[in-house]
């Protein structure tokens, strides 16, 4: 029983990391159909922001609190720059955005290497987040994992509320559902796109701050995470958040269970096969916006 709960929580915490990364993608991929491979480098930017802030702010707890909004703005600004300079020209060619943003991610990685050096760097975690919570039954849960789970859920809640209740959220949803109709209704779709890109990229920055709690950070940290996150969005279905939330946790639990029963490498293959099988059943993902299009 303890083992079962332990694996379940491991899965949920893997899922929380996935969710935090995929949330921004759900926004940019979901609304604008843009495959932003540089999203992983925005995560890296968020992580390095924490590292830089810790050079001047000595208290680990305080630096973490400061890093969250700063990383959000840093990564978001990078996202807006990318949108304005490149992606805006490529909305008609989604596959080409993938390659272009891959090029951008190569440049950003090398930039990080030149500024911070190739070796990974370590950040300090606040004492509050280094311990474990002991649960009855001999179960322990790492504090940093709990924090990431809370952060992911808070991000989902904030984003959901923003999309539901604010005028900006209403505009974003209108553009997702029918871009042309939104445009003729007087919504400045290109400005909405830019804002959405800022939010999505900013969420990547938050994910980067969270990842500093789990291990060292380095120039290529984004590349390893980004594909799993894209798979979450593909399987969850674009245009909505709830699919990504469910799928992130489902894939996390599947990964953890597979890892427990076999090995890490076999678990990855199991997850891949499960995804292909799932897409046989629902090729458009778990939840889709109903449209009358053929695609």
């Amino acid at each position: 029983m303890t083992v079962l709960f332990g694996q379940l929580f491991t899965g949920i915490s893997i899922g929380a990391v996935l969710l935090l990364i995929a949330l921004g993608l759900a926004l940019t991929f979901g609304q604008m159909n843009v495959i932003n491979m540089a999203h992983g480098e925005f995560i890296m930017a968020g992580a390095y922001t924490t590292y830089v802030l810790q050079q001047s702010i000595t208290g680990a707890g305080l630096s973490l609190v400061v890093a969250l909004p700063v990383a959000f703005v840093v990564a978001g600004t990078m996202g807006v720059l990318l949108e304005v300079l490149l992606i805006r020209r490529l909305y008609a060619r989604p596959l080409d955005t993938l390659l272009v943003t891959w090029g951008v991610s190569l440049i950003l990685q090398q930039l990080a290497r030149d500024i911070f050096g190739s070796p990974n760097v370590q950040t300090r975690a606040p004492e509050l987040l280094t311990g474990n919570v002991a649960l009855p039954g001999g179960l322990t849960i790492a504090n940093n994992r709990l924090f990431i789970l809370a952060l992911a859920l808070a991000a989902v809640a904030a984003l959901t509320l923003a999309l539901r209740l604010t005028p900006l959220g209403r505009r974003i949803r209108a553009v997702v559902q029918n871009r042309d109709l939104a445009a003729v209704s007087g919504i400045a779709t290109s400005r909405v796109d830019r804002t959405t890109f800022f939010l999505g990229s900013g969420l990547a920055g938050l994910a980067g701050v969270a990842l500093t709690l789990l291990g060292p950070i380095g120039p290529t940290m984004g590349t390893n995470l980004i594909i799993d996150a894209f798979l979450v969005v593909v399987v969850g279905g674009i245009g909505q958040l709830k699919g990504s939330v469910i799928v992130a946790f489902a894939l996390g639990v599947l990964q953890a269970t597979g890892e427990y029963l076999t090995t890490l490498s076999v678990a990855k293959v199991i997850v891949f096969v499960a995804i292909v099988a799932f897409l046989q059943w629902r090729p458009q993902g778990l939840f889709t916006l109903r449209t009358r299009s053929l695609a």
């Binding site: 991929f29 159909n33 495959i35 490149l86 020209r89 490529l90 008609a92 060619r93 989604p94 596959l95 080409d96 993938l98 390659l99 272009v100 891959w102 090029g103 951008v104 991610s105 190569l106 440049i107 990685q109 090398q110 290497r113 030149d114 559902q177 029918n178 871009r179 042309d180 590349t223 594909i227 894209f230 798979l231 593909v234 090995t263 890490l264 490498s265 076999v266 990855k268 293959v269 997850v271 891949f272 995804i275 292909v276 897409l279 046989q280 090729p283 916006l289 449209t291 299009s293 053929l294 695609a295």
Partner: protein, 395 residues
């Protein structure tokens, strides 16, 4: 969605009605020019290059030509078929590993085990799935058929369910990630991160002998020319026309009674076979196959050569792949950081502003009307843009 479309016909390709528009230019002149082109290419590869280049450079060229073979396949699948495959490294790797396993077993002798298995010391005897590769009659066909089988498996599942565009690209990339993790995880039987190294012999010939290295180069050059000839026939055939039609308007093709899934599947499987063959020839040319050569990053680097050369042309992918690989060697030897910047810029500039690749510059010089249009939306993109506009708008 599913309910709207008629059931696809059972046969993949129906015979076109008599008097269908013949593809391309007038046959006679075009054929003559193609023959002349092939003769020129053969002379360059078989006579000029071995005379001009040192043994070291020739070995490098052999490596580049292997990459070019993968590029030819990507040109078919992506340039003509519109399927952006970011996982060609998987097929390259399957071919390479199949060949390397055979060469390792041949070097170990009958009943022997490859050196690395004894090194890691977990195994007493050869694993079952290694055994068939001792026979060249199994291993050599497997270098091509194994990748084709994997591509068929994935492709038939994915294309039937109309998973396409970005979804397909991400899935193919995930396949590369899964394959690499699997290879590294099973270190005892696959060599792990090191891969299969130290391949010295090629069917009884010593690969350290420059004469034999030259022979390997000639085999590779000949294979590349053969693949180009095959590709030329393929893209000028009725099937080739259909493939482009599927790329530009999949739903229209479906409504005409064809099955786009089968059309795409053929292109994907052919591309996989070419990548497998390239991997198999890469092993004797370079002497190693490892996860670092087939993962996500090398897989996407195969694509950049194709984009630079011109994705939808016959020769563009080959020239682009060789040029990018050459530039990489030349620059990364001296300034490793600069190369990464340059490579990133190459992706950005070529794909965003010159989607037709360098081949379209040539067309640009020849046709002035094209020059009047902005580069990123003109006829240089060879119908991609137009196709997306004519598709039934989503949502």
């Amino acid at each position: 969605m599913t309910a709207v479309t008629p059931a696809p016909p059972s046969t993949a390709v129906r015979p076109a009605p008599a008097g269908a528009v013949p593809p391309g230019r007038p046959a006679g002149r075009s054929r003559l020019r193609t023959l002349a082109g092939f003769a020129f290419g053969a002379a360059l590869l078989f006579a000029v290059a071995p005379l001009v280049l040192s043994d070291f450079r020739l070995a490098l060229l052999a490596k580049y030509l292997c990459v070019a073979m993968v590029a030819v396949g990507i040109g078919i699948a992506w340039g003509r078929g519109g399927m952006l495959t970011l996982g060609q490294g998987v097929f390259f790797g399957l071919g390479g590993y199949a060949m390397a396993m055979h060469l390792k077993l041949a070097a170990a002798g009958p009943g022997g085990m490859p050196d690395f298995m004894q090194l890691y010391g977990q195994l007493d005897e050869l694993p079952l799935w290694w055994r068939p590769f001792a026979s060249p009659w199994f291993a050599l066909p497997a270098t091509v058929l194994l990748p084709m089988a994997v591509a068929f498996g994935l492709g038939s599942l994915v294309f039937r369910r109309r998973v396409r565009g970005a979804y397909f690209a991400i899935l193919s990339q995930a396949l590369a990630a899964a394959m690499v993790i699997l290879l590294i995880g099973q270190q005892g039987t696959t060599g792990g991160t090191n891969g299969l190294t130290d391949i010295k012999g090629f069917f009884g010939y010593d690969l350290y002998d420059p004469v034999n290295q030259r022979m390997v180069y000639f085999i590779i050059a000949g294979t590349l020319l053969a693949l180009l000839a095959l590709t030329r026939q393929l893209i000028h055939s009725r099937y080739g026309e259909l493939l482009v039609a599927v790329r530009d308007g999949e739903e229209r093709v479906r409504f005409l009674g064809y099955d786009p899934a089968s059309v795409k599947l053929v292109a994907y499987v052919v591309a996989a076979g070419m990548a497998g063959l390239a991997g198999a020839l890469f092993v004797p040319a370079v002497g190693i196959i490892s996860p670092a050569l087939i993962g996500i990053v090398p897989s996407i680097e195969f694509v950049i050569g194709v984009a630079v050369g011109g994705r939808a042309t016959l020769l563009g992918p080959v020239l682009g792949a060789v040029a990018v690989a050459w530039a990489r060697t030349a620059l990364s030897e001296r300034f490793p950081g600069t190369w990464t910047y340059l490579q990133g810029l190459l992706f950005v500039v070529v794909v965003a502003f010159l989607p037709g690749g360098l081949a379209s510059l040539w067309a640009l010089a020849r046709r002035r009307d094209v020059a009047a249009q902005p580069l990123w939306r003109g006829r240089l993109s060879l119908g991609r843009r137009r196709a997306e506009r004519t598709e039934v708008p989503a949502a």
